[in-house]
């Protein structure tokens, strides 16, 4: 089993709001995104089994791995001390990689954050979010522009 470890410049924050609500925020800049992207590709091609991500400024560690259970229909998360173990479905991994690739290609992302789908049956609580937030986002559309865009959809 190959375990990888990277350290990002930006922050990882884990917050709990009440017994059932929590949020894991992984905030990255473009340099972090490139590092993370390569590590995610290692997971994608099964060239690594666990990728641990730590922030230079905060104590939380996220350990990404690919879900090995073929019956699993959604990614899962568990927390052991400061370590948050995320077992990603292949399709969620691809979504994350795609988002990071766009960041790498354009130097910005179409939106400042994405949510990764995580099981509601998480031991952390029913309502939780894994959020990847970037520092650079493209100029958003105005409400009118989006309305026009979606008018005939």
């Amino acid at each position: 089993m190959i375990k990888r470890f990277i350290e990002i410049e930006n922050t990882i924050k884990f917050k709990t709001y009440n017994q059932d609500e929590w949020e894991l925020l992984l905030k990255i800049n473009r340099n972090d995104a490139i590092k993370l992207l390569l590590e995610m590709h290692l997971l994608e091609y099964s060239l690594a089994q666990i990728v641990s991500v730590k922030s230079k400024t905060t104590s939380e560690i996220i350990a990404f791995s690919l879900s090995e259970n073929p019956n699993e229909k959604i990614s899962t998360i568990e927390k052991i001390n400061n370590k948050l173990k995320i077992s990603l479905l292949f399709i969620n991994l691809q979504y994350l990689i795609s988002f990071l690739l766009r960041y790498y290609r354009d130097s910005h992302t179409p939106t400042n954050h994405i949510h990764l789908d995580i099981s509601e049956k998480s031991p952390l609580g029913k309502s939780g979010d894994v959020i990847i937030e970037t520092e650079d986002e493209s100029n958003p559309l105005s409400g009118e522009e989006l309305e026009k865009l979606l008018k005939n959809v």
Binding site: I97, D117, S127, D129, P140
Partner: protein, 430 residues
């Protein structure tokens, strides 16, 4: 013991008080207020019994039945000594008497499912920022400001001179009452009024919202208004009635009669007041089991909007949770199974910033359409499975991602794959 003269004076003063209370309880609009009818916008003062106005049919089963023509069964003219000015965005203002009833939307649970509203009937005097008026598409319009305009208490100092020296000074109250017009309709007891922008010429005023009003004619019986709500005025009336009853014990046989009448009216008020609160609270519910709905509907040729469109836009998914309680809707939901949504490497994320929360929500509501299905985890799916609204409490409070937002997702209805994930942010709170 009171003399007959004193008893008569007491009787007259009680009657005057009652009449005064009844007058201030009158619901209505000023004469220039227009109402939407099949013939276009007509000033309320020109409407007569038997004329048709356009009403929103909450029991409609098809989009073409949403707007129905409803006959006026009673009109009334009265006057008020105060008006409430209800302001909405773009400096639009509605003037109405304090008792004029508005159909308003309030969020059922501010922390949880923010797209779920209940519809209530609230008098103008109790409207606040937390209420949202409803337009002809049942889209919410936030109230920006309310203002009570007193039409009396204009005091003038009158000085009377007698040989260049001041004899005495009087304070005089000038009552500048204004005429009010009210209409009473058959079911569903609502009508639409346009709200023009102040400071813009009517010709240049675009996107004029049509606001839903509840007909506000109080039912008067035997000179006693039974239409009292739990208003301070009605409470004063009740207290006054009890006091009159007490006074009558000291005032002899004539006083007993007055007291009995007053206490009787209070008993009637109390009796009718029990049901009144229920009447004032209308949960938005499309009760398909009700046979009355068919009675209220006019033939389909008449169900045209003022522009002549036969199919007005469908209303948004209001009262979703209420529909869930309806067994018929439950069955409908069970029969439809939607695939689980999932994002892929082909999913496009996008972001748009709206001027207000209302605009962002309106777009989401328009897309997810009528009767969306609650698929859990703070997600509502359109009936055709193509659009999905998603918002967790933290999205709406803006605790992450740099601002308050909701999600509107375009899905592949067959697979559940998210094609586009739009993040709808807004600049200001409504």
């Amino acid at each position: 013991m009171f003399t007959i003269k004193k008893q008569m004076l007491l009787f007259l003063s009680i009657m005057l008080c009652t009449i005064s209370i009844i007058n201030t309880m009158f619901a209505g609009h000023i004469e220039t207020q227009q109402v939407l009818t099949p013939n276009g916008l007509i000033p309320i003062k020109d409407l007569k019994v038997g004329d048709l106005v356009i009403s929103y049919n909450f029991n409609a089963k098809k989009p073409e039945d949403l707007f129905i023509n409803t006959p006026i069964i009673k009109t009334q003219k009265n006057y008020a000594d105060a008006l409430y000015e209800i302001y909405i965005e773009d400096n639009r203002c509605i003037s109405a008497s304090p008792q004029q009833k508005f159909l308003v939307a309030t969020q059922k649970d501010k922390d949880q499912e923010s797209l779920t509203f209940r519809i209530e009937v609230i008098e103008a005097q109790y409207l606040t920022h937390s209420h949202m008026l409803l337009d002809s598409n049942l889209l919410t319009i936030p109230i920006t400001q309310t203002h009570k305009k007193e039409l009396y208490k204009v005091e003038r100092r009158v000085k009377k001179y007698f040989w260049k020296s001041i004899k005495h000074v009087k304070r005089k109250t000038i009552f500048t009452r204004i005429d009010l017009y009210s209409i009473e309709l058959q079911e569903p007891h609502n009508y639409l009024i346009p709200v023009f922008s102040q400071g813009i010429d009517c010709k240049d005023d675009k996107n004029i919202p049509l606001i839903l009003m509840h007909n506000g004619l109080p039912a008067l019986a035997a000179g006693i208004s039974l239409a009292f709500g739990s208003t301070p005025a009605s409470l004063s009336f009740a207290e006054a009635s009890i006091a009159a009853g007490g006074v009558s014990l000291l005032a002899g046989p004539a006083g007993w009669a007055i007291g009995a009448a007053a206490l009787g009216s209070y008993a009637l008020y109390t009796l009718f007041d029990k049901g009144h609160k229920e009447q004032l609270f209308l949960e938005m519910s499309t009760d398909d089991t009700s046979d009355d709905s068919s009675k209220n509907q006019e033939p389909s040729e008449k169900n045209k909007d003022p522009k002549g469109n036969k199919n007005p836009p469908p209303p948004p998914p209001l009262g979703k949770k209420d529909r869930d309680k309806d067994p018929k809707y439950k069955n409908e939901q069970k029969s439809k199974e939607y695939p689980k949504d999932f994002k892929t490497n082909l999913t496009n994320d996008g972001k748009a910033i709206f001027k207000s929360e209302r605009e962002a929500r309106n777009l989401a509501r328009n897309k997810i359409g009528h009767n969306p299905v609650d698929i859990g985890n703070n997600k509502l799916r359109s009936q055709d499975g193509k659009w999905q609204y998603r918002a967790k409490p933290k999205d709406i409070t803006g605790e992450h991602a740099g601002g308050k937002h909701i999600h509107l997702e375009e899905l592949n209805p067959d697979t559940g794959e998210v094609i586009n994930n739009w993040h709808l942010f807004w600049e200001k709170n409504d």
